[in-house]
């Protein structure tokens, strides 16, 4: 009840814009924690999200890594899924018709083993109605070929970005890895190559060992760390990149609450992605959006965009 009145009393705008796409609010799912949307539909109204971001697609079906793929850490989650997905053709035939009828803009995440695979994916998806932007994953720590290799060397990151841009007129968001010495170098390289927006951070590389078996806890030996444990690292990366480039940033890494969202926006993010929180609480995305509505109402904020990069140093 209190919530409803607060929102009624003051209705600040939550609208933001990423690469020419208007989002009704800045909150979207992080790729890989949202399936293909349908799985969460019994729990939340998908039409209330700022955008829809589906699991990474590869050119061909990808079986993923051997189990175990999950290991819990203190306030964190190590995963080594390995981009399991049905491939772009099956996505277009089976998953896209459902996603297309949802209202929020659809962002499709892609990963290739080679630069030409990225280009081919971009070309294949550009012709499909209902897709509003491509998110280029050059940051998956869990695959042997491609993925993070392209995200750690600025020249290669730029080549992937340019190759994708050449094949599509859709806005291109490049998703960056924190597993580099200086994330701003990669950020600047992909922006120079034409990236319309950046998404960061992907997971941090990590591992865990099972003392009973003395073997790695993950079938893939190494995995990517996500969850509240990584939030300060993610926030710092967003803050640095926001000062280094002019394009909008989708910030992510351990966001669990609306207050976390505000922090990312103050650090320079225009929008945010929520990942691990949805795995713990299927309603997390909506609860965060409602928390954001409450926050702007309580603070008397007319336009949530006021917050972007507004951290006082």
């Amino acid at each position: 009840m209190e919530r409803v009145q607060a929102v009624k009393g003051h209705q600040g705008s939550l609208e933001v814009e990423i690469a020419g796409i208007t989002l009704q609010n800045p909150v979207m799912p992080a790729a890989g924690t949202f399936g293909f949307g349908e799985e969460l539909a019994p729990f939340i109204d998908l039409n209330r999200l700022g955008a829809i971001v589906v699991k990474t697609l590869t050119l061909h079906p990808t079986p993923g890594n051997p189990p175990p793929r999950i290991s819990e850490t203190y306030s964190g989650l190590l995963n080594s899924i390995g981009l399991q997905n049905p491939g772009v053709e099956k996505f277009v035939q089976v998953k896209l018709p459902y996603l297309r009828q949802l209202k929020p803009p659809l962002i499709v995440n892609i990963a290739g083993r080679t630069i030409s695979e990225y280009a081919e994916l971009a070309s294949r998806l550009s012709g499909e109605a209902g897709i509003k932007a491509l998110e280029v994953n050059i940051s998956c720590p869990n695959v042997k070929e491609g993925g993070i290799i392209f995200g750690t060397v600025p020249e290669m990151a730029a080549q992937v970005t340019a190759a994708v841009k050449k094949q599509t007129s859709l806005p291109v968001i490049v998703k960056l890895t924190p597993n580099v010495t200086d994330i701003t170098e990669v950020a600047k390289a992909v922006v120079d190559a034409g990236a319309d927006a950046l998404a960061l951070i992907n997971t941090l590389r990590g591992m865990a060992i099972d003392l009973e078996t003395r073997r790695p806890a993950l079938g893939n030996i190494i995995g990517g760390l996500s969850g509240p444990a990584i939030k300060p690292v993610a926030l710092y990366a967003v803050w640095r990149v926001a000062r280094a480039v002019k394009v909008p940033i989708i910030g992510m890494g351990g966001i669990m609450t609306a207050h976390d969202v505000i922090e990312f926006m103050l650090a320079g993010a225009t929008a945010v992605a929520v990942g691990t929180a949805s795995l713990v609480n299927p309603r997390a995305l909506i609860e965060i959006i409602e928390g954001l509505e409450d926050y702007v109402a309580a603070q008397g904020i007319d336009d949530v965009r006021e917050l972007i990069g507004a951290v006082q140093i």
């Binding site: 399936g35 189990p67 306030s75 949805s278 713990v280």
Partner: protein, 265 residues
Amino acid sequence: MKLLTEILEAVVLASSQIRPDIYLLSLEAPTISRDARPGQFVHIRCSHTYDPLLRRPLSIHDIGSKGELVLLFQAKGRGTAWLAGQQAGNRINVLGPVGQGFSIVANKKVAIVAGGLGVVPLLFLARKLLESDNEVNFFLGAQDCDKLLRLEALRRMEVNLFLATDDGSAGFKGTVTDLWKKHLRPGAFDWAYACGPQAEMAEFARLAERVALPAEVSLEERMACGIGLCRGCVTAVCDASGHKKYENVCSCGPVFNAAAVCWED
């Protein structure tokens, strides 16, 4: 089919330590109790903070006479230790029921093979199979007689109960699968179900296939979301054409056709 999974704050009705590390917990969760089918699980938040972070999947052990949701679990990590510490009156966040349950046949001769904690989903299964007029042969095994779980509850049910212990302290000396094997002749059973250690379920699957007996197993895997979002809890299965692929234990299982599981992985 309409998904009946809900997230609710369930009240703890009772909690008891039945072995040094084994707990029986009953919860008031009427909608889950109403919709639950044997083999399905509930996914429980084991913290009021972000640590431990992930929910814990627990197979539904039983639905009590007053509709209470009964869970049986081993406290072996930080999450289950937290759960073991919950007392009557506390509220815990429960997502469920989740997953694909066992096939409930009718008017058949069925075998249920439970190894150790494998009894967890199988007691509820036995109850439902009895309601469908099946002859239920329940094979219960453990390391020793102290570790045979829910013996009294099973003795109160109309099942034919067969016991096995590794040390011979109760019933047959050997694994529960070895005991079941002695009763397994072509035509002895129409349907079989198992849950237990991986090696025993693999042997169960091999024996069932040899006599063309339809058989189902309930699998366990490290799990994150529990609802098919993350592909974190997969197991390798062979599809109809013999191709290996990974399927979610949470949403495609946890109950699988025993013959479809790739046991060597």
